[in-house]
Symmetry: C2
Subunit: 328 residues, 2 copies
Amino acid sequence: MSILIALALQAAAPAPPPAPSPGEIVAAAPAGEWVAIAPADLLVMELAPLAKERPRTVVIQLMPPPFSQGWIGNIRKLAAAKWWDGTSVNRVQDNYVVQWGDATEKKPLPAGLATVAQSTYITGTPVKLRERWLDRLKVFDIVFDSASKKSDVQLDEINRASSFVRDSYGYMADNWQGWSIAGDEKSIWPVHCYAMVGVGRNLAPDTGSGAELYTVIGHAPRHLDRNIALVGRVIEGIEHLSSLPRGTEALGFYKTAQERVPILRIRLASDLPAAERPRFQYLNTEGPTFARYAEARANRRDPFFNVPAGGADICNIPVPVRRIQSSP
Amino acid sequence: MSILIALALQAAAPAPPPAPSPGEIVAAAPAGEWVAIAPADLLVMELAPLAKERPRTVVIQLMPPPFSQGWIGNIRKLAAAKWWDGTSVNRVQDNYVVQWGDATEKKPLPAGLATVAQSTYITGTPVKLRERWLDRLKVFDIVFDSASKKSDVQLDEINRASSFVRDSYGYMADNWQGWSIAGDEKSIWPVHCYAMVGVGRNLAPDTGSGAELYTVIGHAPRHLDRNIALVGRVIEGIEHLSSLPRGTEALGFYKTAQERVPILRIRLASDLPAAERPRFQYLNTEGPTFARYAEARANRRDPFFNVPAGGADICNIPVPVRRIQSSP
């Protein structure tokens, strides 16, 4: 092709299409980048329906190893024992958590629940994650070296570069094997993003069995990280919890029994008849689509946006999850 | 006193009291550290009461100069014209925003509203703030120098130190004159924390008049910073908005007119009879109590916590606000 024709073609070329939004990037992911969630990792909670409304179903995805498996083992036993049936949502604190379990605190627990040590709030940093983070540190190192004169402007440059290395809490933050985590070279832990589910406890850090659970309904309370066990996340129906009336007692507990929201049942999807099992997939966080999605979350270029943020905290890059037809 | 007696006294001394929580630190602030909010900076929104319930009142504090005064001038005119009376809450999107205004988009606006340029989404960095940030950069610089060999461990140290300089979005973040902001040496802007109130707009960045408003009811959507005007924050009654049923249409809009929540009236407190004016104060963000409170938010030492986070993102250090008696 002659240069002239090439230039003419270039001039005639239409304006480039608008940049895809993070949602459009995810929608275009090939099937092979979606990972099925095992039925034994899905907890299905049915709240009493509101008058004249459809059922209120909340679906929770439990975390895989190496995270929190002591509590998650207890949760599977509690579900198998139908322990939560007839319990209730007892606490709704605005911009914080919704909590459910036995309001009387007297219902006997099933036999065989483990007492789980607080040492398992964290777990060792996997080799691949450490390598990924060391690569990021190398990029940081290059900026760091190039700014050896350290004028204010150069310090600002280092500053900006470091935003890709660690978050406001002073640790690495990442999405790994489908979950949002933070950590350093020695250990990692899941983080308290919106909709994450954790284990209520008293003052002693090992007093939580998994019978009392909560989910985050506000800005990520990251100060709870490493102070309490996270076991999963709400992947469908969070609005049935987040839109409940706020409790008026201290910490958002409901004042009266009438305010509490009855829980009809909580079951593992694997304990439901095959035809009733909900099926979900999450986007592989190690795949190319997730990388493009995360970059687009940090730098929105879809038409509404004029100034890309240039970064995103880990809780603003939620792992995409989708429901799929129960009959394939 | 002999050494023996001193040792005996030491042995008999009771255990130190538990560290105060952030709330306890704020409760102990001297009266002089609280700043009155002017009645012209308070917007009082009355939603239609729910059956058999008390009124649903939401109070919004408008931002002071130099922030967003073009839109805030419009908002004062809209309130004076009683423009919002009879409009409604039309959109509730989970983990994002609640939005209110004229659902028909046809109600004529009062005369004299300004068209405000997007250039005022940001404002110049005040000298005092720049000085404060340069001091922080100097602390960072010292760590930076002391880690000249740049082993991985030392890089990690730099990393941790830099968390006190900038946030996950790559900018300085701070509380200044009562508001959460981000910025750099040239400009600053308010940030989209929970309960912040902003100006809905269409695609062109100057199409928002202030008639269509929203508030954040989820994890801080910081990608909206500098892309949309923030004008204030909900300081009382956010639960009347955050607990509304989520809309089922795209973007969380309500599907039917029946779902919309009627707004009875929105008034500036300065336009209410003196006896009906709510009175609020915020904690001076430049005072010693706020500094202690912010440090305690980043390093929780009250009894529930075992591992202080070591940092906090700006939206986890909300500026304390309190209601005071209307008749002093």
